[in-house]
């Protein structure tokens, strides 16, 4: 199968769906002729023109408001935030209008809007350009929150986002954007709320690791090291954190007995806390050890490259965390 980068895979999904659905248009800073800061819309302006690829001024709350109205009246806006951190300027519109309008209109209004942007720590982007935010959005009823970790998932999940009627946060970790992987040329969708078993443990496997976004690849690297010592681990990538496929996680936990959640972002009130609570609630008798979390430091992200690297999990710290879990 041919290989594409993560960004190219998502872009292909967008381009294909724009060709099918004339109500789709893209809004953002530098997404027109420039093709997007992260090349998310490269080549699309030539194809679909300025009406459907709308460059905007730096006015997030304004253009989110415009797109909210457009979605309510039948269009399908894709808002490209470049760095997702900029979405924070539009939180009022997002949480009070975008997430709630279907409920408040008793379902008479739809909100088919895709909100995309790069997330995550990496490349010395510093604290205004390194947020993850999926825990925050997963806390709000009304949003679908998607964090693909492979090019294949990026295309399939983006297709699903563009065909639904709900607001979707499509969050692309900046360290994954250039990652290459097999991507089918045909059209396919990946349903929300369906985790992927990124690495299936054998029968004697004694731990399940749930890894999010860029942590999936790092966890798989750690597992390769552990396998040399005969330690076999099952790795689950939820792919969407709202809805969250807890069943797949707990089914794996039932087999292995131990659970670690590896999440680059802050631990308090995070996805790991949610998964741990559900494991204790629904699968207490499957737990052979405390549920463990490995998170980034609870602090603003530093610019300094050594400090930045030190504040988030890497393959070595994940490996250590798994060994620690097995020693419980």
């Amino acid at each position: 199968m041919r290989e594409l980068t993560y960004t190219a895979a998502a872009r292909e999904a967008l381009a294909e769906q724009m060709a099918i659905d004339p109500t789709i248009f893209v809004v953002g800073e530098g997404i027109g002729p420039r093709g997007g800061n992260f090349m998310t819309t490269l080549g699309l302006h030539e194809k679909y023109g300025s009406m459907r690829l709308r460059d905007t001024p730096i006015a997030e709350r304004g253009f989110i408001g415009l797109c909210t109205g457009a979605a309510m009246t039948g269009s399908r806006p894709v808002v490209d935030f470049m760095f997702l951190d900029f979405i924070l300027d539009a939180m009022g519109e997002l949480i009070n209008q975008v997430a709630k309008i279907q409920y408040m209109s008793d379902g008479r209004l739809k909100m088919p809007i895709v909100l995309r942007g790069s997330i995550g720590v990496g490349g010395s982007a510093a604290t205004h350009h390194s947020g993850n935010y999926y825990s925050i959005f997963a806390h709000i009823p009304g949003f679908k929150v998607v964090i693909p970790s492979t090019p294949y998932d990026a295309k399939g999940l983006f297709k699903t986002a563009l065909r639904g009627n709900d607001p979707v946060m499509f969050l692309e970790h900046k360290l994954l954007l250039n990652m290459k992987g097999p991507v089918p040329e045909e059209d396919y969708e990946i349903p929300f709320g369906q985790a992927r078993i990124a690495r299936a443990g054998s029968k004697g496997c004694r731990a399940t690791v749930v890894a999010l976004a860029s942590m999936v690849r790092k966890t798989l690297d750690a597992c390769d090291v552990l396998l040399k010592d005969g330690i076999d681990i099952e790795v689950i990538d939820p792919r969407t954190v709202s809805p969250l496929d807890t069943d797949t996680i707990l089914e794996s936990l039932h087999r292995t007995g131990r659970l670690l959640i590896v999440d680059e972002t802050f631990a308090p009130c995070g996805i790991g806390a949610e998964i741990a609570a559900q494991a204790v609630d629904r699968a207490l008798d499957d737990l052979d050890a405390p549920v463990k979390r490995l998170n980034g430091a609870f602090a603003p992200t530093p610019y300094s490259p050594p400090l930045e690297a030190a504040m988030i999990p890497n393959a070595a710290t994940i490996e250590a965390a798994i060994r620690d879990l097995l020693a419980e």
């Binding site: 039932h254 007995g257 629904r282 699968a283 207490l284 008798d285 499957d286 737990l287 052979d288 419980e328």
Partner: protein, 430 residues
């Protein structure tokens, strides 16, 4: 239609206020904007105006001036001219008022304290929930296990190792009678790929489990085995089969039922049972016959076997067994036996240790009837063969409750049964 005048919320935190006075009277016509009453909120006194037009109707039980009122409490109605107020129609009046009790009860539901479980005792070892579950599944007593977890916690691997050690030890020793677990296992919340299947205990299974367990753990069971020559019994049955006037062909179980009843008349101790501190010995002999059914083991009862002829017993038991297998047997048919016979001979079982069906004293197990060479010695010699013959041999296994009878009487009873099997004429004439 009457419009309710309720105590309004004057500020975000206001829950109650003081009703000062009416500015209109009962029966006054009002229009929008008319001032209706004065209400004191958290901070200030407010004149509340009417949102509607009509006739103000103040019910007799409306709050008195100067009293504290809850937000949402009913003060009055505005009705159309000539319309009767709801309180004049009796039934409706007070039901809408917002009582303090209802507010309090909602709060008590929301904030009801969660009962804290007692803190775990520090003297018992800690165990992971999963290890505890596995220990239950494998019937391992985890309180004796040393945990290998970081804090000394017993983990799944410790329990499995302990179970394997027990299993290894049991290979060398006779395996103890398994204790039937009667309490249902708690259902697991998520066991999508559990290797074992789980089914709730049926009522029949539960009774069997309790009775069998009691027969082993409450009684003091001893089993005696005796090989008997059943050739004459086989011959007798063949003759009955060939007799066209037989109304029923007795099974070997029926034959033994008759023989047991006959032997019992000389050995009534085997027909006894415990009742508190007394030993009760029945005169009537009711023989239970163990029947294997789809529901499990059932024991229908042939009553008064001691006073019935063989053909009566045969006819009765055939009907009972058929109804038992078809699930049509009544509860009374399964009750009141004083002795039980269980026959596994048809499955090529030679001998076994039947379990006493408490409160009975004993149970007789029948093995298969099989041809064997039998040596008869010349009288007065030690090893000189008079003849070698093929005989139809059978092993009888009598389990009795040593609390009620001793080995001697039980052995003599079995010996008498053996005699009656080998010489059927003895009981045919009785």
């Amino acid at each position: 239609m009457a419009i309710e005048i309720l105590v309004p919320r004057l500020g975000w935190t206001m829950e109650e206020g003081v009703f000062i006075r009416w500015l209109k009277q009962d029966g006054d016509p009002v229009v929008q904007g008319d001032l209706l009453f004065e209400l004191e909120g958290d901070k200030a006194m407010t004149e509340v105006e009417s949102m509607d037009a009509g006739v103000l109707r103040i019910p007799p039980d409306s709050p008195e001036p100067g009293t504290t009122v809850l937000v949402g409490a009913l003060l009055a109605y505005i009705v159309a001219p000539g319309e009767a107020a709801p309180f004049e129609q009796k039934a409706l009046a007070a039901s809408k008022s917002f009582s303090r009790e209802s507010v309090a009860s909602v709060e008590s539901v929301v904030t009801a304290p969660v009962t804290q479980p007692a803190a775990p005792s520090t003297s018992t070892p800690t165990i992971s929930p999963r290890a505890r579950r596995v220990a239950d599944e494998l019937s391992v007593d985890w309180t004796k296990i040393k945990g290998s977890g970081r804090t000394g916690r017993i983990v799944e691997a410790d329990v499995r190792a302990a179970a394997e050690a027990i299993a290894a030890a049991n290979v060398k020793q006779p395996i103890p009678e398994p204790v039937v677990q009667i309490a249902p296992q708690p259902a697991l919340v998520s066991t999508p790929q559990s290797a074992a299947t789980r089914a709730p205990l049926s009522a029949t299974r539960r009774v069997i489990a309790e009775r069998m367990s009691a027969g082993v753990h409450i009684a003091a069971p001893v089993t005696l085995n005796s090989e008997v020559d059943a050739t004459e019994l086989v011959r007798l049955r063949e003759q009955l089969k060939n007799d066209k006037r037989s109304t029923a062909i007795p099974s070997y179980t029926d034959l033994l039922a008759k023989i047991v009843a006959c032997a019992m008349s000389d050995h009534p101790a085997l027909n006894a049972r415990f009742e508190g501190n007394e030993i009760v010995t029945e005169r009537a002999i009711h023989i239970g016959i163990a029947v294997d059914t789809e529901r499990g083991l059932l024991v229908p009862v042939v009553r008064d076997a001691g006073t019935k002829t063989l053909l009566q017993i045969a006819g009765e038991s055939a009907g009972l067994i058929t109804r038992t297998r078809e699930g049509k047997v009544g509860a009374d048919d399964l009750r009141g036996s004083t002795f039980t016979i269980t026959n596994l001979g048809m499955y090529d079982i030679d001998a076994f240790t039947p379990i006493i069906n408490l409160p009975e004293c004993a149970v007789l197990g029948m093995g298969r009837i099989t041809p064997k060479q039998v040596v008869t010695l010349k009288p007065g010699t030690i090893d000189e063969v008079e003849r070698v013959a093929v005989r139809r041999m059978m092993t009888l296994s009598l389990t009795f409750d040593h609390r009620l009878v001793d080995g001697g009487p039980a052995a003599r009873f079995l010996q008498r049964v053996k005699q009656l099997v080998e010489q059927p004429y003895l009981w045919l004439v009785s």
